[in-house]
Each structure stands twice: as structure tokens, then as C-alpha cells.
Amino acid sequence: MISYAECSARERLAQLLDADSFKEWVPPVERVTSPHLTQLSVPCAFDDGVVIGRATLADRTVFVAAQEGAFMGGGVGEVHGAKLVGLLRRAQRDRPAAVLLLAESGGVRLHEANAGLIAVSEVMRAVLDVRSAGIPVIVLIGGSNGCFGGMGIVARCADHIVMSDVGRLAMSGPEVIEASHGVEEFDSRDRALVWRTTGGKHRWLTGDCDALVEDDVAAFREAAIAALDKAQPLTLDALEKEHDLLAQRLHIPPAEDAGGDDATFLWRALGVADAQAVPDLAVDAIRALRNQ
């Protein structure tokens, strides 16, 4: 078993895709790096923190992108974002079986914030374009930096999300919320609370992700293959259903935070009898809870 969380972006691609099938676009030797980081005297990465290209997965052609969480937290800058947009536009043109996005990102790269913000919105539009063209976009989340900020929104624009239980998917990082509203609002050092609020198990129980897997590259590969033909068209009907689900969920926890554990409250409302036990349960046991 190879830990997905521990792998670098390139190691993930090497393990996840069919052996030796990956062809990188705009590879490191082209040195398309961020001029903004250089202006700020911050070291560049030769791939600007994202690896993109074409490969096969179970003998089907897929386009892939993998963000490197260790470089600037996977933050999206101008070049990084444009590589993602280019990949998605190319998918629209060339129609692979699917686009795989191995997301690990804190969102907008703050060093080039304005360009990053626009880039994330371009990525989001491009994802929706690919999706509406009937090509499934599959997002994999299992890196130790999680998938936050604008990339957290982008992920939810995709057809299919695969998460491990150590993966996190959310909008604002706990440190940001703590800095803004105090430690009583969100104690970012309480990792168990952070994972109850943003972690893979929570996202699985709420249906915010479509597959929950072990922190194992092989499990991610299997789940990605299983998702290949699962395009989910964004129709008006689908959006109405999504709206109902979110609107109902909004009223489950008490409106004002009573300081209790909102996550277990929510899980109980979703039909998990022993919600307290969830954090200690194994992944397959958690998977079974949603099928009930």
C-alpha cells in the first residue's frame, strides 16, 4: 500500500495511471515558471506546481492534472491556472474519456493573488464547459494540504469527487477562520475537529464526495477507473435537486452554534445512529453507513 497523501504530484501520476503512459505538456524543461514569484524573490518551480498531460487509465485516454501541495501549498497562480485552463480547453477539443484533476491546493496563490483569483474562475468555467460537453471531470482529493479556497469550489463543479479519509475539502482553512473569529469559533489545532468539519468521512456522509477510499494510491486508481463513465450532466433538474438537498441541510444543525459538536449532530440527522463513533471507524465501515 502506497500512501497517496505522502506522494508528490509526480509520484501520484506515476502510480495512478497506466504504466509509462503519461505524456507531459509544458514540462519542466520548458521552464514556464512564475515571473511574479521571481519579482518577489521567492523560488520558482519548473512546473509552477502543477503537472499536466495525457495518459491512459485502464487503456482509456484521459487528460490529467496534478497539483503539488508542497509548492506554495498548491496555490493557483497565473501560470499554474493557465495550465489547468489549457488542459480543460484541450479536453473540450480532443474529447478524452475523462479529465482527472488530482487536486491539492490552498486555493489562490496569495503571492500573485489577483491573477490567481481570475485564474481560478477561468478554471471553474472551463470545468463546467468540459462537463457540459459530456466529458466527465473526476477530482481526486487526498493530499495533506487538502483542497481549499477556490479549488474547493472548482472540485464541487466536477462530475465526481473521490476522497480519502485524510483528505479535506472545504472553503476557508481553519487557521483563517480562527484568525478571523477566534479560537472558540474554530480551534485549528484541534485536528480531530478540523477533520470532523472538513475531512473525507464527513464529506462522504453528507454526499459532498462520491467515493471514499483508503489513503492508498491503488484505491484512488480503482475509484478513478470506476468513475470514468459516470458523467453527471448539469441539467436544470439536477440543479433543482442539488438546491433542495442544500436547502434542507441548512436547517439541520441549530442556527446558532451552541458550542456543541455540529458534525455529529449533522451525521445523526443523516441517519448515522452512533455518530460519536464515526471518527474511529474504518473507511469500509464508513462507506456502509451511507448505503443504509
Partner: protein, 233 residues
């Protein structure tokens, strides 16, 4: 500018727009045609509830009024920074709002964004930045971070950042910077009605922001990188 004087300028004194808390909504007449207007005010933080309220109106417009244009009036301090919202999946709610707007565009609704006061990061991505085109008033403020916060993140002196930002718009807040990067299509000055009329007529339905950024010199690389990916072996 106050939202009320803005819509009065655009749609006359009997515009019919209502505010419920920080949420703005209305069906207005413009050049004899109805437009759906959705917005926020008081620098509203966008949480799950406000994202859903906006999505509801977009979906209703698609259902009931095929092809009717939608105007998004933007004034937000960004996403709601609360644990409860994270728990409830604020990113999912925002994606839902974005997807609803995107569907409206695909179904032939013109969607125009207008930053009339303040637009910050998370609250902006799934509104103005996902419209057909986003515009701004000259006195509006658009940013992710102010220079002092930026200085803390980069550990660089504020003076150096200010200097750098004079020649590179990615570092500093400001409407003009967003225009030169292509994120904002143009600034509406003077005749606001004329500007809206022009936007409804000419806003592109394709995402041209990277090209605009290259042509305007504010985002020199994005379009080129996209092209490189498209033409790679």
C-alpha cells in the same frame, strides 16, 4: 455607491428592487424588457444561506423566464468565515450558485456582473467572475489582499510591494488592475444606462479574459500558456 441610487440611476425610481437583510432581488424593466437583478449589499459575507438565496432566483429565472437577462450586483467582503458554513459545505453551495449561473448562460440568458462597491476573493468567484462579463464602477474595490497583508505573507517590505505593483497589477488591489488583467471587462463611467445597454448587447459568451489580459498587458502569460497546452505534442 449605495445600491438604491445605483438601481435608481439604471432603472428609474420605481425599480421595484427589494432588500431582505443583505440580499437584493428584483425584476426590473430596462429598455422595455424585463431583467432579473440579484445582489448583495453591506459588504455581505457570502455564506451557505446567501449563496442559496441567489441560486434560487437564478434557477427560478431559468424556469420561468427563458432567455431573460440577469444582472448581478456585487458588494461582498468575501466568503463567510464560519465553522458552521464549512460544516454545511459552503464550497458546495458556492459551486451550486456558480453552476446555476453557468447553466443560465448556456441556456441563452445574458449574465452581467457589476461590482458597485466591494468584491473580495471567495464571494466574487461564483458571482461576477462566472458571469458572461464582469464590470465595475470606478469607486469600487476589488482585491484578494491589501498590501500590508500581502507583505506579511511574502515577508517583503510594503514599500517594495507598492513599487512592484505600479508595474505589475497582480500584486495590488484595484479596479484598474483587474481591468488590465482581463478580469473586469470595463469600468462604467458616466452614462450607466448606456453602459448596461452596451454590455447586454456585446458581452462575450466565451471566456476571453486571458486574451484580454494579454492584450491589455496586465496578464501577459496566461493566454500564451493556454495556447502552448493546446498546441503541445
Amino acid at each position: 455607491m449605495q445600491w438604491n441610487s445605483l438601481v435608481t440611476q439604471l432603472f428609474g425610481p420605481y425599480h421595484g428592487m427589494r432588500a431582505a437583510g443583505d440580499f437584493l432581488q428584483g425584476e426590473v424593466m430596462f429598455d422595455g424588457e424585463p431583467i432579473t437583478v440579484i445582489g448583495t449589499t453591506h459588504h455581505a459575507p457570502i455564506g451557505v444561506e446567501l449563496a442559496l438565496a441567489q441560486a434560487r432566483v437564478v434557477l427560478d429565472t431559468i424556469t420561468r423566464h427563458a432567455g431573460r437577462p440577469i444582472l448581478l450586483l456585487i458588494d461582498t467582503q468575501g466568503q463567510q468565515l464560519r465553522r458552521r458554513d464549512e460544516l454545511l459545505g459552503i464550497n458546495r453551495a458556492m459551486a451550486h450558485l456558480g453552476a446555476a449561473i453557468d447553466l443560465a448562460r448556456r441556456r441563452g440568458h445574458r449574465v452581467i456582473g457589476l461590482v458597485y462597491d466591494q468584491a473580495l476573493s471567495g464571494g466574487f468567484i461564483t458571482s461576477g467572475l462566472i458571469a458572461d462579463a464582469c464590470y465595475a464602477l470606478p469607486e469600487a474595490e476589488i482585491r484578494v489582499m491589501r498590501i500590508p497583508a500581502m507583505a506579511r505573507v511574502t515577508k517583503l517590505p510594503e514599500d517594495k510591494l507598492r513599487l512592484l505593483s505600479q508595474s505589475n497589477p497582480v500584486f495590488a488591489p484595484g479596479v484598474q488592475n483587474y481591468v488590465s488583467m482581463g478580469g473586469v471587462r470595463s469600468v462604467w463611467q458616466g452614462d450607466l444606462k448606456g453602459a448596461l445597454r452596451d454590455a447586454l448587447a456585446s458581452a462575450p459568451s466565451q471566456d476571453l479574459r486571458a486574451q484580454d489580459g494579454a492584450q491589455r498587458g496586465g496578464r501577459r502569460l496566461a493566454a500564451d500558456v493556454i495556447e502552448r497546452v493546446l498546441s503541445a505534442d
